[in-house]
Subunit: 207 residues, 2 copies
């Protein structure tokens, strides 16, 4: 769990496979997806072997084949599960605090070795458009969580109506640059400044 996140609820995000509901098969699927993500991060997509996935997940090789006859679909699902678990955004009723916490978790995931490795693996294989789609779908899912929080804030009248896709990019874009440039540390203070300026700017520019 990230140190500087205030709400204790985000601790759930760490307990990935066991926390998933749905009995044994759901648990097996979740273990396979986690193992796949780890192996993609470690060896890239080209080197991905079902035997290794099964071994790392502690399941029978047939379970992998039966659930995912298609390898691209397996990678896509694995990245989606990873993305969903990556950036929790809880609705505590305080939009500013929720967004600041979201940006901090987002920044810590972006700087994790698994995220960097996935980025490298996927950029190294730009010809594989299915994988490209999988990565983008995973990012979309991650940001969809932020979008839902925005939509609910608009509904409750906390902020004026906004294009939630646009605002999500506006908030998370600078985080992306801070992490990837490594010129200045991304701190809670920076996250708060981003959220404050963007929220104030939205209020000020809405007629």
């Amino acid at each position: 769990m990230p140190e500087n996140v205030e709400t204790s609820e985000t601790a759930d995000a760490g307990a990935r496979p066991a926390a998933r509901p749905g009995g044994r098969n759901a648990r097996v699927r979740s273990q396979i997806l986690a193992a796949t993500t780890e192996l993609v991060a470690r060896n890239g997509v080209a080197g991905l072997r079902y035997e290794e996935i099964a071994e790392l997940a502690g399941v029978n090789k047939n379970s992998v084949y039966r659930n995912w006859p298609d390898r691209t679909e397996l990678v896509s699902d694995a990245l989606l599960q990873y993305a969903e678990d990556s950036a929790p955004l809880h609705d505590t009723g305080n939009l500013r605090r929720d967004l600041v916490n979201f940006l901090i978790v987002f920044s810590e995931r972006l700087s994790s070795s698994i995220d960097r490795a996935i980025l490298q693996a996927t950029i190294a294989a730009p010809g594989n458009t299915d994988l490209d789609k999988a990565v983008r779908a995973a990012y979309d899912r991650r940001l969809a969580i932020a979008r839902r929080r925005f939509d609910s804030a608009v509904e409750k009248g906390e902020i004026p109506p906004v294009d939630s896709y646009f605002v999500t990019e506006l908030l998370s874009g600078p985080v992306y640059l801070y992490i990837n440039r490594r010129r200045h540390p991304f701190t809670r203070e920076v996250a708060e400044k981003i959220v404050d300026i963007v929220l104030a700017g939205i209020h000020a520019t809405t007629p």
Copy 2:
């Protein structure tokens, strides 16, 4: 020249080598750097050969060796020249218009094949820290242009004092995500919304 940039001054950016002052040696150096950037984009850094650079630049191989005995320094200088030519930011006296134009040029460079290829080539060689430094230095140079424009706006009282590094990341971060996600087009309207919200937010949050 990007279609939707209003000021005609940015046309200068296209006429790279010839526009550089300083006589024959400066012109030769500039041609070598442009050829280096193109070859890095085409083949990556590992495959870079001085013979090919000389041939593409139309200069003698000895000119390349004499000016850049060190290959990493050559790549670094090439990326820096590319970055400087990439994102012109003219001071027309209208901060909003200048920033909108800057974001549009920035977005077009980010989506160019040469930028994408450089990104791939450098991410594929993460162990090469000199190259990594060169890439980051090039980005810094590109953004330093925006920072200077901000500092001058602060001096003239157009905006309250700001951390220009922070604001530059705040403005260019969303552009980066729009281009790399390819989910929605990056238009002049989007650029204007980013600049308007950020400028209004800075005014509103400054005591």
